[in-house]
Amino acid sequence: MLRNEVARPLAGGRPGGPSLGAAVKRRGERRADLLFQKVLAGFALLVIVLVFGIGLSLLLAARPSLRQFGFAFFWTSKWDPVHNIFGALPFVYGTIVSSALALLIGVPISLGVAIYLAELSLRGSAVVLSFIIELLAAIPSVILGLWGIFVLVPWVRGSVEPVLGMALGWTPLFSGPVYGIGMLAAGIILAIMVIPIISSVSRDVLLAVPQEQREAMYALGATRWEVIRRAVLPYGRVGIIGAIILGLGRALGETMAVTMVIGNRPQIVASLFQPGYTIAAALANEFSEASSSLYVSALIEMALVLFIVSLLVNAAARWLVSRVTSSVGHL
């Protein structure tokens, strides 16, 4: 409100001497200014109303399902629309496993990218490379899914899964027949989608580490990697964790690309070669075809869960990142 205080005495203060007409006009101007400020505040308030509105309307629409199934909704795995029995466990499981897989693949790569862009590359090339990485985030999810179906999945089926099966086939994770379509493909495509977010936010975090931190370590005779490993990364750790959580938020709610490659079968099996299902994919596939009101309500309850989780994840991530750097990328 500081600017407001400054603006008030100035508003409408035309030179020309005090007259009754001028005073009346000035008061009108001030009232109009205050009204305009209230209108602006109203527009800003809309965002808060919107987020509360989303939560409230989902909660109301999910009530029949909440009442019918209670908490059992989340730990039963029978999904039978014909008999109106709904248990969301396979979807929750698929969402968690595919996101975890995405982080497992994506985080090391993202950190490598962030370190390279912030610490190792020349300034000129860093700008261009960062731009290219950010373009990756701009590719529409549905196009990535199309590429997933016709390029990634055949590659996974032909090269990745046979090799993994041969090397690690004795573990339940990599056993059984290969389909190409399945949890592993979903994990890979999600990794591709979280890499731009995690690496660009981590890069900002690393760039915010004070130069003295590096110089002190160099003065002790450290190599460049030791400086990064012992002086830069520990300093930015909180922010990097925030960046990873931000990536997790994206992975949990990502819909189209996952729907197109995960296989859409609600089952809980250890093998990553098998098809799975995620909450977002179930919404995309079944929502417009849901026949009974309880079915719709069960789907909306899953949307509510996704909403709450992404709310918490985003709040946590932004809080962590803001402790290190003031700017959080708009990805």
Binding site: N4, Q37, V47, P140, W225, A315
Partner: protein
């Protein structure tokens, strides 16, 4: 004692070298999918984009040819409606945040906008379904446009805020000194000076919603025919692309690649234009 020290130093140098190459390798691995996507979409799309693609309706199964003219128009209509919803709210909200948003309320608005930005687009689709589609009892272009508009709000709001903040205070003060009221200064001096930056934010937001599919699946739904009516289900390029991609027909796959090429060109052009313009603006502001 000096023997192990020499060895250690060598090892440290090797570690340094290895880790540098590993980071470079990570960068290459991260860029590889982008190159692959761009390559495949360009190659397969280029052979499928024909004049018919822009002028004809989708062909039935088994019939070669056909196009996506209706989906192209549908996407334009949806983006136009979304812009009508998202841009005014975003700009005025952003103006509030930069000019008056220093307090606690401003902090909450900023925080909620960032959180809204992170909410999965499919959840926004479900929300609009419950809010618009259920009362109206049928899918409609209006619902789709509103869903996309909601997604635009946080993007436009936060970039507007940042761009308006770059306008030097002396400009506002000069305006006040001329006796120009606060509201006129805010709109015609401050906001107008930041026009280029605000346009950048709008372009980025449009680029983002242009490629959105999930919030349209059960709001705008789809429509195989010509339709300009926003109160009816309407086709969009993304939903059409999705339906074609998961279909078993080669003809439809070709159409999907063509749609992907057109869509990607639009998004990339908007992104590159916005980012290069935005960077120049930013450098000047500093």
């Amino acid at each position: 004692m000096s023997e192990p020290r020499v060895f250690t130093l060598r090892r440290r140098r090797i570690t340094d070298r290895v880790m540098t190459y590993l980071c470079l390798g990570a960068l290459l691995v991260a860029i590889a999918p982008l190159a692959s996507v761009l390559g495949y979409v360009t190659l397969r799309g280029a052979s499928s984009v024909t004049w018919d693609f822009f002028t004809h309706l989708p062909a039935p199964v088994g019939e070669a040819g056909g196009g996506m003219a209706n989906a192209l128009v549908g996407t334009l209509l949806l983006v136009a409606l979304a812009s009508c919803v998202g841009i005014p709210i975003g700009i005025f909200g952003g103006l509030y945040l930069s000019e008056l948003g220093g307090g606690r309320f401003g902090w909450w608005v900023r925080f909620t906008a960032d959180v809204l930005n992170g909410i999965p687009s499919i959840v926004i689709g479900v929300f609009i379904y419950a809010l618009v589609v259920v009362p109206a009892r049928h899918f409609s272009g209006i619902a789709g446009g509103i869903a996309l508009g909601v997604m635009m709000i946080p993007l436009v709001m936060r970039t507007t805020e940042e761009m308006v903040k770059l306008v030097p205070a002396s400009l506002r003060e000069a305006s006040y000194a001329l006796g120009i009221p606060w509201r006129v200064t805010a709109l015609r001096v401050t906001l107008r000076t930041a026009t280029a930056g605000v346009l950048t934010g709008i372009m980025l937001a449009v680029a983002r919603i242009l490629g959105e599919t999930a919030p349209l699946l059960f709001t705008a739904f789809n429509n195989p025919f010509w339709s300009f009516r926003m109160d009816q289900p309407i086709a969009s390029m993304t939903v059409q692309l999705y339906n074609y991609a998961i279909s078993p027909y080669d003809d439809w796959h070709r159409q999907a690649w063509a749609a992907a090429l057109v869509l990607m060109m639009l998004t990339l052009v908007l992104n590159v234009a916005a980012r290069t313009a935005g960077r120049r603006r930013y450098a000047k502001g500093r």
